[in-house]
Symmetry: C3
Subunit: 274 residues, 3 copies
């Protein structure tokens, strides 16, 4: 189903403007490059609109946010909306502090997002203004399982309808939804939760994919989610051969993204349309 | 001697709130995960107390500090003290600038630390308000050697008594002291000084270990020091097999931490009680 | 031609003060260490002059610059000039926003640089106040080729004469020029553009090399450019044996720098004096 998504990325080399956290920013830059895009990180209020103006996509990631960067996110987001650029939101840790909560709601109110990507706790928090998050990881009680899959899918569709955004909910099972369609994705590996930044990297890759496929945001997002998960599986396979640990795994994950192509994705993607 | 320390970490998955430098923050996050904890980096004054409130430990690292983050460190530290959370101080580069010096003394005055971890120059500077540091590495003239070991041990105990903190002094020989006990640790490898961040990673792992073992801070700190050093040795062994350089070594160090368990630590730890 | 350059670095362990971006800062710190130097990153206005005063070289890198760090760059640069310390400018993304442009020109006006290192778009922008940059990469139309080599060489010499700085222009062919000499360097590998930070790492290594060879800035810069490119080649060779991707390549690049010595450089450097 992903025919031209990756090819478009590798041919068009979308410039991805990311305002993101300083914890995983290097991984995000490297995985955007690995995915076929070109990253540019710039967060000063004096230049974000200039940078957004020359970009193909904007990614706003709420990890390590601060007052200075929140203002920059708002300015860049509005500029992107004005230019018709796709904007991806990664509401890292939404629910974990009053400041993140306020910021998340303000971003949702003032910016139109093409994609909102988070774990179930973060997305539920955004949708409901309630729920709890334990740090930046999804709380145990709030997993997407085979049992609640249908319910969460309906929730994702409803939230997509309300926001006009493609909603990507990550977890053991990932969901990618617009108001009419939901894909359940079963790619990925538990090992991905043992390194920092796999969520951030996914939102960065999503920026790259939607940047090169702005008219096909749902499929581009699903391709990013399947692709990232598939890279996680392939990296784990390689890790076992190398008898490596989590440090090696982080490296292999970017390796696999740098090799990913159309054929591998079609063969390796495990999704169903709910 | 470390019976339950690591098991407690892997079972409890302590949330470690770190306000740290942007140079080594990714390594710190990844090694906290590798150690069995869960990292959260947040440094905005508007949210640090919220984040500290849900954490199991707080780590304050003075690398790349700035006025904004100093205020956040103070707020988070006070909150941690109020919640009874263990707080680890890594006074990176104390002695190198008037600003770091002032900050270090202010942190010491306003916050009660469970652990203070630094190289001998940094710790001497904190204790005496004198001494010199050449950048962020210990000055040559100030090494812990077999000759001055006893003297430095007494100094560490006295500083522990004065501050009420466990004192960890890192170098070729590491010392971990409270006011009554001193462990000399001979784990580690020279190669650890050829990559950035091994000191920061140790303080992050210490946060993880004391976060899961708040009633056993001395042993948890000693376990972190021995464990980190042991990982440095194991990583070097692997490095020789792979004929790698310092880039590979950095990765292997995190690999080894992700594998470390109770048995490996008991067998590999090289410490003596002075 | 590089007889003592690397030996001086490994013997003197120059302290390199870098005010740089948070995307590639860890790679910069690790490659300074790998090159034989000692990195210190500090960017608060309250301490940059203190830190510069104890350093052997200062590197100013404009990636992710912001108002706070621009003020720090100016203060540190002036202090370095006063102390007679070599200063390296990496005008990342000059031309991409009004803020970067203004900052670049202000830095050029207020600070005397020993070395200015950028891609052809960035350097042309600095020299002419015109030209366009697409994000942080050189625009296609603006490559250094065998055809325009002589012309770009003359341009580099003229810009060196005007600024008093050694000019390093990076690309498929690199140029290193003072007002009387130009070296064309044909080291390097295309793979270096597939990871973030190779440009930043080069300016960091240049800081290390000129810091230990302050009286030989032209050759030290040429050595850094050849050395970095050579490491890129050697890393690619190793990458093919390992069947790795871009994640592995990043690691191998630092590995190679940690091994680089005088003899390897003399044998592997591909330069001609134009």
């Amino acid at each position: 189903m992903f025919d031209q998504i990756i090819t478009n990325v590798r041919n068009n080399v979308p410039l991805v403007h990311a305002i993101t956290n300083y914890v995983t920013v290097n991984d995000c830059a490297n995985i955007v490059l690995a995915s076929g895009g070109s990253p540019i990180m710039a967060d000063d209020i004096n230049e974000v609109t200039d940078i957004t103006s020359i970009a193909s996509a904007l990614v706003l990631n709420m990890g390590t946010l601060n007052e200075r960067t929140v203002a920059s996110m708002l300015a860049a987001g509005k500029q992107a909306n004005q230019c018709g650029l796709p904007v991806v939101l990664d509401p890292v840790g939404a629910g974990a502090s009053a400041f993140r909560n306020k910021t998340a709601f303000q971003l949702l109110e003032e910016i139109k997002f093409s994609v909102i990507k988070g774990n179930i706790s973060e997305i539920k928090f955004l949708a409901a203004g309630e729920g709890k998050t334990a740090g930046v990881d999804a709380c145990e009680a709030d997993k997407v399982t085979e049992e609640n899959l249908k319910r969460v899918a309906d929730f994702a569709k409803a939230f997509s309808k309300r926001t006009g955004s493609v909603i990507a909910i990550t977890g053991a099972i990932d969901l990618v939804a617009d108001e009419d369609h939901v894909y359940a994705v079963r790619n990925g590996h538990l090992m991905m939760s043992k390194i920092t930044g796999t969520g951030c990297m996914l939102s960065a890759v999503t920026g790259s994919y939607v940047g090169a496929n702005p008219d096909n945001v749902l499929k581009a997002t699903a391709a990013a989610v399947c692709g990232m998960g598939l890279c996680g599986e392939l990296a784990y396979k390689k890790l076992c051969e190398l008898h490596g640990g989590t440090g090696t795994y982080r490296m292999l994950l970017i390796d696999e993204m740098s090799r990913l192509n159309e054929i591998m994705l079609e063969e390796g993607a495990k999704y169903e349309c709910l």
